[in-house]
Symmetry: C2
Subunit: 308 residues, 2 copies
């Protein structure tokens, strides 16, 4: 049984208040796999890259237990490229360039060896591709989690709603939740979105943490206050990878365990932003991760027995 | 021994996306006293009002154990009046009218009976007034906490820094912390501000919760996600009142107990926003408060033993 991660593997060019890089490794499936591979293996990767994507990046992930049989390599194609510039608050950014390249024709055909998928993470992609992947898996996974973005709410709302209705966990940011629900209050937004099908909704709020909604239950995980957010690119995908990695490791899809998964995801995301691209994720040890999770426990822990 | 609360008692006119009121009771010391009186008594109130301030409002607080000997009533004067309009996000607002009225000449002269002050809460006022109050207390209180606002950073920065250097806890919002420190990162801002004198810094982030900094320690309390924020006016003062009320009740000024105080303050603030003005605070029972604090425990509680 395994975790399947579907998403982009790409190049990014970034400008932040701390610096600028021209062409580094990026993509939702890249970040998610680096994060999740700390907790579970094998991971079955589904993506598409051009002949320009470095073989050593694929090899580095393979060494972490990430199966690349589902990654199409289009020798004479170019990898997806995104370029963006972050504002001072690091929560908002302008997209400068989007070149879909090989991603424009991405229509994954899952290898037979991927049919043992127990947990499925659908990174932000065209909803039609997300639906296509779900339909190819003969035995429904124990848990399907999907990410999306405002672009699809404008370009393909009907297909997006269909995809949302097929998953267990939807993971979006606060402005996307507001746009999808047409509600400003995140509680009202969550109530509406949970009626669209998913049993769980995770709303990411960047430096303000993340919320998990399930029925009438709600959990609020803080983000670790950081001296410097060097590069927020991939933080959401890293969060998702840490979350689903923990769920796949524990094979427990209860609300209680998802709360812990969100803390694990938040810890991984807090590393991601410390360096450009996935570089910080590549050098982490288990001790680093344990110490960071302890920081989260300290951060929110209080003694309520003092009150009564 | 007692808690002293210094601040405005006033009229507000408010417009929010949910409605409009022309002239209701407001003021930092009003909200703080309503909140704190759930936890401790006596409270020694220090403020100034005009002859237009309703006697029954003073009486209602007196019945809650709030001593009004330090509240100057200027029979032929008018009470401080503030009018504002909230934006859709309820975190930002425009001030429409500020009429200082009797507050312009506020120069409190503490009654002798107020000298037993053990805990002192200085609401947002001119720093010169805050300093004046501290200097009038012969035996330094066990804990002094102060609020302020960006206006004083522009109009009286030197006096403000002097006031800040004299207190134990500074409580401001995130944009004020950034302005005061000239740092965008709240961690860097906190490090700078703690060097100005206070041993503790509380940064209020509205719907995103509150942070407590002390040396290298940090605590992040969430805000309760609400279906509707009806009127955020006074939420910060109510938070402060709940916080200092809990500290005064327990007489424990450790970092650990301040964390609990922040949860209590957050719970009180979550009530405040449910109705216009302090109306919701006036009708609370102990059961209401206990139930709301339980909601906060549920909101942040997670089982980390699952991880290892």
């Amino acid at each position: 049984m395994s975790l399947m991660i579907v998403g982009s593997m790409a190049f990014d060019a970034l400008e932040t208040p701390f610096g600028k890089v021209d062409r580094i490794i990026g993509g939702s499936a890249t970040y998610a796999a680096w994060a999740a591979s700390n907790f579970t293996s094998p991971i079955k990767q589904v993506s598409i890259v051009g002949g320009d994507f470095p073989q050593e990046e694929l090899d580095a992930l393979r060494k972490r237990g990430v199966d690349m049989a589902g990654v199409d390599i289009i020798k004479d194609g170019k990898s997806f490229f995104w370029s963006g510039k972050y504002h001072m608050d690091m929560n908002t950014r302008d997209t400068l360039v989007t070149e879909l390249n090989v991603l424009a024709d991405f229509n994954p055909n899952l290898p037979a060896s991927y049919q043992d998928c127990e947990f499925l993470m659908l990174g932000n992609l065209a909803p039609a591709v997300q639906i296509n992947v779900i339909k190819q898996i003969a035995i429904r996974p124990k848990l399907i989690i999907m990410d999306t973005m405002n672009f699809w709410m404008e370009a393909a709302l009907d297909e997006l709603k269909k995809a949302i209705s097929m998953v267990d966990v939807l993971m979006i940011n606060d402005s996307e939740a507001r746009q999808l629900s047409d509600e400003f209050s995140l509680v009202k937004a969550a109530n509406k979105i949970l009626k669209m099908g998913p049993k769980f909704l995770i709303i990411k709020k960047g430096e303000h943490g993340a919320l998990l909604f399930h029925g009438k239950q709600v959990f609020y995980a803080p983000a670790l206050p950081l001296e410097e957010v060097f590069d927020p690119t991939g933080a959401g995908d890293t969060f998702a990878g840490g979350f689903i990695g923990h769920i796949a490791k524990t094979k427990d899809i209860s609300f209680e365990n998802m709360k812990t998964g969100i803390i694990v995801g938040s810890a991984m995301a807090s590393f991601c932003v410390e360096k450009f691209g996935p570089n910080r994720l590549k050098e982490l040890t288990q001790d680093d991760i344990d110490a960071r999770i302890d920081e989260f426990v300290e951060l929110v822990n209080f003694d309520i027995s003092i009150i009564s």
